[in-house]
């Protein structure tokens, strides 16, 4: 058999592992021979969409990744920005969609576990988790099951490990029925000089595996599960989902942070998708070195595991570090105290090859560059569809309904109802940093030091897939602006953004078009805002037999604010305060809105263009007013339009309001468009906003009254807004 020629058996195996014939031939060429079984398993994962980003890497290059606050950009386990006074915030969002669609509790739990490890892998103590969830309509039993399982799983992991879940978002739309989305974001804090990278360094240094034993769970997770469409036989993929153990991870986290504090580690990397294969080759590639790994030294759950299984297992709660040989005793002492297993399984070599040994026998020998850099990147073949590819949602509200009925219907719709039944299942306060809890304000606010004094940050996560389905470019611009608006409401200036691009099969022209337009919109909006992408994740092949999900770019933004105590809440507080409407001049429109959804309207193909520069100017003005401390409340006008925003501001603290809108037509009251805010406070504070703010009424009473449209008692609004509780009985 000559190099370059594929044997039929190996080729069939490669196809079963998700590689195409061209890719297999390329592997043979790079290896100079056919890969053996171990090598093929490693290549198939490293060259999977999930690990190699082969359909998205070229596009991602368009996103801005430079900024004045950036400390660590894309490519590390998590990105990081400086928040001044020598402190860094590391953060990242990641998907765990397909595992959650197959087994929601463990899928979501290990999604949280994985993103926590990404953050402490850079030396940062995790201080907050947020989640972004998408399910089908709750009229479906399957969607209720997935929602319940995912929420329980997120809570189980976050609550048990002592990291607060401070925010998130959830939408319910038909196209997510078979393919739910579970994205988890984590933020961590570190002294800037304590951030650590994953590059392996120092020939002769030891490679140490810490944490849980390696088992057969999660084998093929990155390729078979994450990089292919879901189908009806998904139950059979359940063994590819990992099982989480937050108690193990809690000890691992404390142990790693103590080792970093002592300066005992040269580099650190978490084991996520593709397990040892991916973590070791990434470390070797970044350090421009080679690694020898002896799989016979890896502690196993089952002692008859094959070398390839050990290399690809996605068992959770494991970290890989590089240490100097004379630090081994110290590492073992610290690990012993935290009851964390630690085993030297290999060493750093000079050869830039990843060698897999089973005792004395070499069972795999691969060039690191081929594994990490040589996977072919594919050009997308985008084609704009000539008509909307998504079916209109089912009609649940008569288009003839009046304002009274419409507002109650919107407040009780699952996309707008209070998220309290979800977030009460999460510990949002552990670590004593949470100054604004869920539904207190438009963004979560955390003080950096539990006893104050070091400033504060705000964080929000956003992404309305239906708007992106209407217009991938503008919908994504809106998602970025919505996230920045939430930060502006509490007075925070954005420092960096992390994204998770959840799309369908990129080999399909209309999905490729969505992806390309969406990334273009994100890039343009971020350049205008001056905010860099610090890292993120791409999740493709989110499709089922019913077609692709709504294209769902989820963005998480972290911002800084000088004084957490001044951060405005979203709810009206005091009788007699003046209510004003602040707008960047965007005309609200109904197509693509929540109301259009309830009415069962077709999704439009195209949304009104957004003047990003004008919105940015508005965000600057709102942020500056919010920081001044004079405004009692600031609330972004988002889904459901100004009427829903008014109701939310009344419900937050149980105070009514009486307003007169310049236009009380249904289109004006419930239409949507970015760059609009509701503020309340003393008249002098409102006047400081200049002519951007139009006074529309006053706070007070126990009802919301909108002149010419109707009056709603707080109790009927509250009952409508509590509609999501029924999903959790």
């Amino acid at each position: 058999m000559s190099a370059g020629a594929a044997s039929a058996d190996r080729l069939a195996e490669a196809r079963a592992l998700g590689l195409n014939d061209f890719e297999y031939e390329l592997i043979v060429e790079k290896m100079g021979r056919e890969p053996n079984g171990v090598e093929l398993a490693v290549f198939s994962l490293m060259w999977s969409e999930h690990c190699a980003y082969k359909h998205s890497k070229k596009l991602l290059g368009r996103l801005p990744t430079e900024g004045p606050h950036l400390l660590m950009g894309p490519g590390e386990n998590a990105g990081a920005v400086t928040v001044g006074s020598g402190l860094a915030i590391a953060f990242k969002v990641e998907s765990h969609n397909h595992p959650s669609a197959v087994e929601p509790f463990q899928g979501a739990a290990t999604g949280v576990g994985g993103i926590l490890r990404d953050v402490f892998a850079v030396g940062a103590r995790p201080i907050a988790v947020l989640d972004s969830l998408r399910f089908g309509e709750l009229s479906s039993g399957r969607s209720r099951y997935l929602l319940d399982g995912a929420v329980s799983g997120i809570g189980h992991y976050g609550n048990s490990i002592g990291v607060p879940t401070v925010g998130g978002e959830v939408y319910f739309e038909g196209p997510y029925e078979q393919n739910c989305l579970v994205n988890a974001m984590c933020l961590g804090i570190a002294r800037e000089d304590r951030l650590i990278r994953s590059a392996a360094a120092g020939v002769g240094n030891l490679l140490v595996l810490m944490g849980a034993r390696t088992g057969r769970d999660g084998i093929g997770g990155a390729s078979v599960l994450a990089s292919a469409e879901l189908d009806s036989k998904d139950a059979s993929k359940r063994p590819t989902v990992q099982i989480g153990d937050p108690f193990e991870e809690k000890r691992l986290l404390e142990c790693c942070l103590e080792l970093l504090d002592r300066g005992a580690l040269r580099s650190l990397q978490d084991l996520g998708a593709a397990g040892l294969s991916s973590s070791s080759s990434e470390m070797a590639s970044k350090g421009e070195v080679g690694l020898d790994i002896d799989v016979s030294r890896v502690p196993l759950r089952e002692d008859d595991m094959e070398p390839f299984e050990i290399m690809v297992s996605e068992s959770q709660e494991r970290m890989l570090c590089v240490i100097e040989p004379d630090k081994l005793a110290e590492l073992e002492e610290v690990c012993g105290r935290w009851e964390v297993r630690a085993t030297a399984i290999g060493e750093v070599t000079g050869g830039r090859r990843l060698r897999v040994l089973d005792g004395d026998e070499v069972v795999g020998d691969m060039p690191v560059d081929a594994l990490v850099d040589d996977c072919p990147l594919y050009d997308l073949e985008p084609a704009a569809p000539s008509e909307q590819i998504y079916a209109p949602p089912p009609r649940v509200l008569d288009p003839a309904a009046d304002a009274r009925e419409t507002l109650l219907a919107l407040l009780s719709s699952h996309n707008l109802a209070s998220r309290r039944p979800l977030f009460e299942q999460y510990d949002s306060i552990v670590q004593s940093r949470t100054v604004r809890r869920p539904e207190d304000a438009d963004a979560a606010v955390l003080q950096l030091a539990p006893d104050g004094g070091e400033g504060a940050i705000a964080v929000s996560i956003d992404g309305n897939g239906r708007r992106v389905a209407c217009d991938p470019y503008t919908g994504t611009v809106e998602a970025v602006l919505e996230c920045a608006a939430n930060l502006a409401c509490v007075g925070a200036e954005p420092l960096g953004l992390t994204n998770c691009l959840n799309f369908g099969n990129p080999e399909k022209p209309h999905v490729a078009w969505q992806l390309e337009r969406s990334v273009a919109g994100m890039a343009d909006a971020l350049r205008e805002l001056g905010v860099p992408v610090v890292g993120g994740n791409v999740s493709l092949y989110n499709e089922s037999g019913d077609g692709p999900i709504y294209p769902t770019p989820v963005v998480g933004m972290v911002g800084a604010l000088p004084d957490a105590a001044l951060a405005p809440r979203s709810g009206f507080s005091e009788e007699g305060h003046v209510v004003a409407f602040v707008s960047a001049g965007v005309e609200p429109s109904l197509p693509g809105s929540e109301l259009a959804k309830l009415r069962g309207d077709e999704l439009p193909l195209g949304l009104p263009e957004v003047d990003v520069a004008a919105v940015r100017e508005m965000l600057d003005a709102v942020r500056s007013a919010a920081r001044g401390g004079g405004l009692a409340s600031v609330h972004d006008v988002a889904e459901g339009g100004v009427a829903v925003a008014l109701a939310e501001s009344c419900l937050a603290r149980g105070v009514g309001a009486s307003v007169s809108l310049p236009d009380s037509s249904l289109d004006a009251m419930f239409g949507e468009g970015v760059g609009r805010f509701l503020v309340a406070g003393e008249r002098s504070a409102i006047e400081a906003l200049g002519d951007r703010a139009a006074v529309i009424g006053t706070v007070g009473g126990d009802a919301l009254e909108i002149e010419g449209a109707g009056s709603w008692s707080l109790s009927e609004l509250r009952d409508a807004h509590a509609a999501l509780a029924e999903a959790f009985v």
Partner: protein, 222 residues
């Protein structure tokens, strides 16, 4: 005076408890594997998930070396304050009456609740008056206090019910709205709500601080 806060593997709120204690006295962490309390005056057994709590909450922690020392401290009349998981551990260890069962709603619940001071004549509540309302958050899955009818009458008769959830605020179905109880001698208390998360108005409320203040003044040199 000096507080000692026990740290088990899996404790989550020990750092928060330590910060709260430090507002009212000196404080340090006590390691679970250590059987010495290093001369602290009051022991706080904090919240979290000691040893992962996979078996039954608090069931493993009670066997740790530090708990032998805590039990001895309690028998000698020393102050021991268990919060949430710490309450569960103290019940498992037999230092407090009753037991904590899964919430009536069967789900984890994190919520700011009002509790009413029932007995202010204890080292944990002496900075309060009977009838005072304190706003303190709960966050637990296994917080439904239970004791048999007869024991409840006993607890009541001996002033061992220190805090109750205010009407409409019981988050877990606890019997008689009980949020916190003490032993007969009133030197050991368990509480499901987290007073260490209510020591600063900035993060929600400072009402929980009064319990730490009570302990600090009870132990302050006269």
């Amino acid at each position: 005076m000096r507080f000692g806060v026990v740290r088990f593997p899996g404790s989550c709120d020990e750092t928060d408890a330590l910060l709260a204690c430090k507002r009212y006295g000196d404080a340090e962490l006590l390691w679970h594997g250590d059987s010495d309390l290093w001369g602290v005056d009051a022991v706080v057994v904090p919240g979290g998930f000691s040893y992962g709590d996979y078996l039954r909450v608090g069931a493993i922690a009670r066997f740790s070396p530090v708990m032998d020392a805590v039990a001895e401290h309690a028998r000698a009349g020393g102050i021991v304050f268990g919060i949430c998981n710490g309450f569960q551990v103290l019940c498992e260890a037999g230092l407090l009456p009753g037991a904590l069962l899964p919430n009536a709603g069967l789900r984890f619940v994190c919520r700011q609740v009002d509790v009413e001071v029932v007995n202010a004549d204890t080292p944990f509540t002496r900075a309060c008056e009977p009838g005072d309302i304190l706003s303190i958050p709960v966050k637990h899955t296994t917080g439904r206090y239970y004791a048999p009818e007869e024991d409840l009458r006993d607890l009541d008769a001996h002033g061992q019910i220190l805090l109750r959830y205010r009407e409409g605020h019981n988050p877990n179905g606890s019997v008689a709205d009980i949020a916190g109880v003490s032993n007969r001698e009133r030197n050991v208390m368990g509480l499901m709500p987290h007073p260490e998360h209510a020591v600063d108005p900035l993060t929600g409320s400072a009402d929980g601080g009064r319990l730490f203040e009570s302990m600090a003044t009870a132990l302050a040199p006269a």
